[in-house]
């Protein structure tokens, strides 16, 4: 009998399981595949305040520090996170207006974002296009290599005594939190659902109807190239993310949509979206025209109806908890898992939960 079974070994499930085990609980962490192979392993690794929901800025700020300092709390694990300045760029007056509104809201939430003119933005990022009119500048930004996330957590989880069961699909939950798994039943006193885009069907196991939207985000990576940029770059609308890794490859993303769904996973990159994304990138950093495109892929991002997290107890089901489905959740993931673990362990969380009552579809009256 486990104290808690966490279903879903992405960044949310891993952080929750790790902090629960550190709190002395006997934890099972199950995933139908390998650790961090879905959204947590294939996302753009952007650790930026300027693409984070304003309400999540306090979480993102704390998590940013956790990512940068990961080895210290994660048994030496690393996602090669680097802190660097971030710019959110406006090319038109309309984008400048959008930028002002958004920067103001995020500044109010605690992100140290200042608006700078084009000339100042090009001092911060010499690779930036001369067409940039204005930028939001945040000195606390950065990026990680998301593909390292599973490796970074795995050692710490095992060391903390978490019973990690990869390739062990859960297909349902019977009364008394008896999990039906591919390898036979598993019983726990509590469950945590941490299944990303698959939270909707997981919640249904417990009789809860929680609609989750699926975003199919595309990413494109270039071959290694000489340094062309040194910041994390976005545009005011948020449909661009750019960063150059120390090895020279540039990752181009921002949330352009490809083909895929919950059943089939990320299926294919849509070339027209890839072209739009690349044009936006090359418009922003003109030196990218010399890049060679090496690989493109899609990943599924979950989003609740209000695009804020599902994080807290599951109403009507004592000892069942949920975490995930948050826009830009990777950035805030480590701290969200810690917050939920604190709540489950009966401590006062360092930051508030996001209870899901607001998201549940009203049962027929």
């Amino acid at each position: 009998m486990f104290d808690v079974a966490v279903i879903g070994a992405g960044v949310m499930g891993c952080s929750t399981a790790l902090h629960l085990a550190r709190a002395g609980m006997k934890v099972a962490l199950l995933d139908r595949g390998a650790i961090c192979r879905e959204a947590s392993g294939v996302n753009a690794g952007t650790l930026t305040m300027q693409m984070t929901r304003a309400a999540l800025i306090p979480y993102a700020l704390r998590a940013h520090a956790m990512w940068i300092d990961m080895g210290a709390w994660c048994a030496g694990g690393s996602v090669a996170a680097l802190a660097c300045p971030g710019l959110s760029v406006a090319f038109t007056d309309a984008e400048a207006a959008l930028l002002e509104t958004r920067a103001t809201a995020r500044r109010a939430a605690g992100a140290p974002i200042e608006l700078v003119d084009g000339a100042r933005a090009r001092q911060i990022e010499p690779g930036l296009s001369a067409a940039a009119l204005m930028a939001g500048h945040c000195p606390i930004d950065g990026f990680a290599a998301a593909y390292l996330t599973g490796r970074a957590f795995r050692g710490a989880l095992v060391e903390a005594g978490v019973d990690l069961r990869e390739n062990c699909a859960v297909t349902g939950i019977d009364p008394g939190f008896r999990l039906r798994t591919a390898a036979g039943p598993l019983a726990a006193k509590r469950v945590v659902l941490a299944g990303g885009v698959w939270l909707e069907e997981m919640a249904a196991w417990l009789g809860v109807r929680l609609p989750i939207k699926v975003l199919v985000n595309q990413l494109v990576v270039t071959e290694k190239m000489p340094p062309v940029m040194g910041t994390v770059l976005g545009i005011a609308s948020g449909l661009l993310s750019l960063k150059q890794y120390p090895n020279g490859s540039v990752l181009i993303g921002g949330g352009w949509q490809g083909l895929g769904d919950r059943m089939r996973g990320g299926l294919a990159v849509l070339p027209e979206a890839m072209l739009g994304n690349m044009r936006l990138a090359a418009h922003t950093i003109p030196a990218l025209r010399d890049a060679r495109i090496l690989r493109a892929w899609t990943g599924l991002e979950a989003e609740t109806a209000d695009a804020l997290p599902a994080m807290g107890p599951i109403p009507g089901v004592p000892d069942a908890w949920i975490i995930g489905s948050v826009h830009s959740g990777y950035t805030s993931g480590p701290v969200m898992g810690r917050v939920l673990a604190q709540a489950i362990a009966g401590e006062t969380p360092v930051l508030p939960l996001f209870p899901i009552d607001r998201l549940l579809e009203a049962k027929a009256a």
């Binding site: 038109t92 593909y147 599973g150 070339p271 690989r295």
Partner: protein, 472 residues
Amino acid sequence: MMHDILVLGGGPAGMAAATLAAGRGARVALVDEQPAPGGQVYRAPAPGLDPPADADRREGDRLRAALAESGATVFPGHLVWDLGGGPLVAAGVPDAPFRIQALGDAPRTLTGRALILAGGTSERIIPFPGWTLPGVMGLAAATILLKAEAMLPGRAPLLAGAGPLLYAVAAKLIGAGVRPVAVVDLAGHGEWLAALPALAARPDLLARGAAWRAMLMMARVPVLAAHRLVAAEGTHGVTHALVQPLAGGAVRRFAVDCICVGHGLVPATEGSRAYRARHAFDAARGGWVAAADPSGRTSVAKLYVAGDGAGVRGAAAAPASGRIAALAALADLGLGEDAAALATATADQARAARTGAAMARMMALRPGLVAAIPPETIICRCEGVTRAAIDAAVEAGAREVNQLKHFTRCFMGPCQGRLCGEAAAELVASQVGGREAAGLPTGRVPLRPVPMAALLGDFAYADIPVPPPAPL
């Protein structure tokens, strides 16, 4: 224009498939990366060169002439980078026409109701110390230099590895006036003798093999059977090759300026993986191949595989394999059935494939080769990942190749896994119980790295269809 059949790859299988289908009135387009169709074995010489016509050249010219007369539209010099359509559609939507995007003189998009993948193979090279030195190259690369460029890979080459390519390259070198320092064959004499009955089905190939061996004897080229290349040495380029009997014993050191090495051929599965077709591992056919029926029908409707890309059976078997896939596509598209033609092609293929299968067995990966790789040897040369790093990643929980990719960056470099993939997968397989368990890398586009500038075109910022922003 909507084609009936798109053919990806202009080797013998692709040429024969396009020729047959177009000859029967179907609208066919064939796309190939090289300046002229031919593939590897029947590769056309570079423009302006006219090397002496050998048997391969004559067969290639015959296939090219038939293709030219067939009415198929041929797009040579086109790098296919994107595959779409087919089953790659939104949920609940019927399959779309297949859509190929290629870069030639300009970006080009082709659509077709059926798609025949005839992508051939890539060469397997199992790493050894010094394999990244300049002067070390694949046997297949050496044949490309000799055939298409009339260029010598070196003046003192040593040839090592497995399969008939060893002797084909040796004979070509001798014909070009270069005496190889040695031929180092993983196979023992007994293995070649065991393959003889299968070779007897193709007396022409048997005679050619015998002629190659005779050339080596005449030129007094040492042929070291059941030997392996242990290491390449050199500072700025390869200067020495170390060779040892497989059974162990004294290491011999040869002075060389070039090592041509190949450990067999691996079917190209980029296309079938991009379409998420089902695959199966079959070591005797070169490794992972798209699961297909005898006519090349994959698990994806109207997607076919032909030639060595469907499983290594050799160039001689490829044209019949292409014709079979073309007949299947024509039938599935309602463009006519021809049982007699299918029977003939099937018999042709079976005859040639018997020889091809024996050669494929000679080229199948020998696990001992991977086990012998020293820990500090680089496996993934794009990303500098050593064997020790791969072993450590497997130990740390990467029990499958896609997770290995995440843990180590193996497969993430510009070779897209073509150079490192076999050795890396074998290292995982040795710990998890086989190649099936070790898995197959998920298909990704672009199928080859492409210059961004060629895709971007001219655009105005205002015309980029930027979707609405994410919520604040």
